[in-house]
């Protein structure tokens, strides 16, 4: 199997996975009572009407009296054509609400991701090169600290210290600040710092342990014997093979963190991004919006896994496409 064919198969598989996850979501929703219908029945009962008739009307309005497969086809079609419905709690289309939230999420996610994927391997390889020195111990200690401290807890503590006591950073997030401004940097520095400490630990550990293996390899000895400068030797001969195993774990971990922590960090720091949108939608029982944000995170996860596999094959020419 050639590279092109492999990519094709992999993309197809990603579509299948996204379809399966969407189907599970649909089944979960279909099996549960819809809060909107309950709401309609309550309203009718309160206003002295007939709750049963109101439920029937609401069901018809929402197309719930159609057979399951029709609803399923309809659901899948609207999911993939981005027709995600109307958000009642925000009085705007779901896709619009999501796009607005994404704007704020991107502002801290992009610096965070870039910092993690550049600093993590660099510090890891550096600490492998100076193994068991005090620098290595400091880096390892930091990695464990960042890995183990719950992000939301760390965020609260930092807000308390730097926001409340020292008043260096603003306590509440200001949406009116322009993206590329000092104020924006000031209010985003803590969320980015918290997320980077959370994610960089794993990256550092993996790259440290993996590159330790290549330090004493034959090709490294050859490179040194030829007189290759240490910088070049580490960049070309240690970094590259290290990135391969790293890339298999990196994307998955970043995504897990993105989904779990972005929600928490946004709630703690008051950033009106995707995570907070999801949280608010959950609290205000806005089914369309809950569904929409779940789908966004799901698609991000699926595409991330896809990219990870593709990067993996590009980075490592030794991988044989025949055994996937």
């Amino acid at each position: 199997m050639g590279f092109g064919k492999y990519v094709g198969a992999r993309v197809l598989w990603a579509v299948v996975v996204s379809l399966i996850i969407t189907t599970v979501t649909f089944l979960l929703l279909a099996a549960a009572p819809n809060p909107a219908i309950r709401e309609a029945a309550t309203q009718a009962a309160l206003q002295g009407g007939d709750p049963a008739a109101a439920v029937e009307r609401e069901r018809e309005l929402r197309g719930l009296n159609q057979p399951l497969y029709v609803r399923y086809m309809d659901f899948i079609q609207s999911v993939y054509t981005l027709d995600w419905g109307w958000s009642e709690s925000r009085s705007q289309p779901v896709t619009e609400a999501l796009l607005q939230a994404l704007y704020y999420t991107a502002q801290y996610s992009i610096p965070w991701t870039i910092l993690t994927i550049t600093l993590g391997p660099l510090v890891g390889v550096y600490s492998a090169a100076n193994m068991y020195s005090w620098r290595d111990h400091v880096a390892t200690g930091f990695a464990f600290f960042g890995y183990a401290i719950p992000n939301f807890f760390f965020g609260i503590i930092l807000l308390l210290i730097f926001g409340v006591w020292f008043e260096w950073i603003p306590i509440s997030y200001d949406t009116s600040v322009p993206v590329f401004s000092l104020e924006n940097v000031r209010q985003l520095i803590m969320p980015v710092f918290v997320l980077v400490t959370g994610s960089i630990g794993a990256t550092m550990r993996v790259s440290r342990n993996e590159s330790a293996e290549f330090q004493n390899s034959d090709f490294m000895k050859t490179a040194k014997a030829k007189g290759v400068s240490p910088l070049r030797a580490y960049a070309y001969h240690v970094m590259r093979p290290t990135l391969v195993p790293l890339s298999t774990t990196l994307v998955g971990q970043l995504l897990a963190l993105f989904i779990g922590s972005s929600l928490l960090v946004e709630v703690v720091f008051g950033i009106p991004g995707l995570g907070r949108l999801t949280f608010n939608a959950l609290v205000s029982q806005d089914t369309n919006l809950v569904l929409g944000s779940t789908l966004v995170f799901t698609f991000v996860a699926v595409v991330g896994n896809l990219l990870e596999d593709l990067v993996f094959t590009v980075l490592d020419p030794r991988i044989n496409y025949d055994d996937r």
């Binding site: 464990f144 600290f145 807890f153 308390l160 409340v164 293996e213 998955g252 779990g260 949280f279 779940t294």
Partner: protein, 394 residues
């Protein structure tokens, strides 16, 4: 793992060894059965005769109620003691070797000590300390040796010096806004954390090992389909799915454990599969096969013991994720608010952070230390069980 070791090879009682068939129970299994039977009977009694809102031990005058989670927890405790702790006792030589390797990593030993405290505290603590109770009047009490401005407390349990309320030993870690004792809350949270740790590990190990070995031994298209299924499980956004389930159906701690362990075994299954494929190629497996061992016996007696150590390491590194997820949900306040977990306590103290930071700090630090301890131990186990890695670092 043989239970008896003859002194010399020529004194091996072959007839005794060859007798061991599939239905021959080892001392471990007998112990397991003996321990589980009363538990099962108790559960049946609870299920059939005890009313919905009655406590399990009401008939003998105790007010402690057991919910399904408690039964699952006790069951997994039995499993761990008979299939993990007892074998270690039965093989003192290997145990001593593992301990020697493990001891070299000092943070891990400290971590193990900490987890021991959490474990014992979670098991025994709720029996000794009464559950934290609301009492609005004694809210915001400071921890021992600390003080708080009198304006922030309704009544001060300790002495008031210069308008500062002082902490007492009655509430060693202070109280929350509602007057719940933080220390008692942490002890009760230990039980929750241990329940999460033990039950999820058992479920993940059971599904992962079964799925992995079956996939490896079935081969062909069955293997292919099963591994594709694992791919799907791995790319499932568990946290979100749980949020969705929570949103639609509402969910307690039991549901949390089920959902999270149902989507966490993918990595274990993949690992077990690849490991059993490579173990299956070993000479001693071929020898066992030629001697007429069934596939079940090969898997049970040779493959699983050979992958067990790596699985334990992997599971140790999985647990912190579960604890964190539970704390996150509790912090958001969208989990089961009746579960007295650490995350619950952290979220309870968030609004009073500026003047009563101990409500957030105490459970947060305990959570941090627990996660750190699991990571240290996982790291040490990796080194102890992987002689190759050790040779590199030496």
């Amino acid at each position: 793992m043989a239970t008896k070791k003859p002194e010399q090879f020529d004194r091996v009682d072959w007839s005794e060894l060859s007798e061991s068939g599939r239905f021959d129970l080892s001392i471990n299994s007998i112990g397991m059965l003996v321990a589980t039977l009363p538990l099962g009977l108790l559960w049946l009694y609870d299920y059939l005769f005890v009313g919905e809102r009655e406590a399990t031990f009401q008939a003998i005058g105790l007010s402690r109620n057991l919910d399904p989670l408690d039964y699952a927890f006790v069951f997994t405790l039995f499993l761990f003691s008979f299939y993990l702790v007892l074998p270690l006792y039965q093989n003192p030589r290997m145990t001593r070797y593992y301990w020697k390797e493990f001891r070299r990593n000092r943070p891990a030993v400290v971590g193990l000590g900490w987890l021991g405290i959490v474990f014992v505290g979670g098991l025994v603590g709720p029996l000794l300390i009464s559950a934290p109770e609301q009492s609005i009047l004694t809210g915001h009490q400071p921890p021992v040796f600390l003080t708080i401005n009198e304006a922030n407390v309704a009544t001060c349990v300790g002495d008031v010096v210069n308008g500062q309320c002082q902490g007492t030993w009655q509430h060693p870690l202070g109280t929350t806004r509602g007057g719940k004792d933080v220390f008692a809350g942490i002890v009760y949270g230990m039980t929750i954390s241990m329940q999460i740790a033990f039950i999820t590990t058992t479920i993940v190990a059971a599904i992962g090992i079964t799925f992995g070995t079956v996939s490896a031994y079935a081969g062909g298209w069955v293997d292919e389909v099963m591994m594709r299924f694992v791919d799907i499980i791995l790319s499932f956004p568990t946290f979100l799915m749980f949020l969705l389930i929570l949103y639609i159906y509402g969910a307690g701690l039991g549901m949390f454990i089920l959902v999270f362990s149902a989507f966490a075994w993918g990595g274990t299954a993949r690992y077990v599969r690849s490991k059993s494929l490579s173990v299956a190629e070993e000479e001693f497996i071929k020898a066992t096969r030629i001697s007429g061992a069934s596939t079940y016996r090969v898997v049970r007696k040779h493959v699983v013991p050979n992958v067990a150590s790596s699985i334990i390491t992997q599971l140790t590194l999985l647990i912190p994720g579960f604890l964190l997820a539970e704390a996150q949900l509790a912090f958001l306040g969208i989990g089961d608010s009746a579960v007295p977990s650490w995350g619950q306590l952290i979220s309870a103290g968030r609004s009073d952070l500026a003047f009563a930071p101990w409500i957030v700090l105490a459970p947060g630090i305990v959570l941090f230390l627990t996660i750190l301890a699991f990571n240290f131990i996982g790291d040490a186990l990796l080194d102890a069980l992987n002689p190759e890695a050790e040779a590199e670092s030496a």
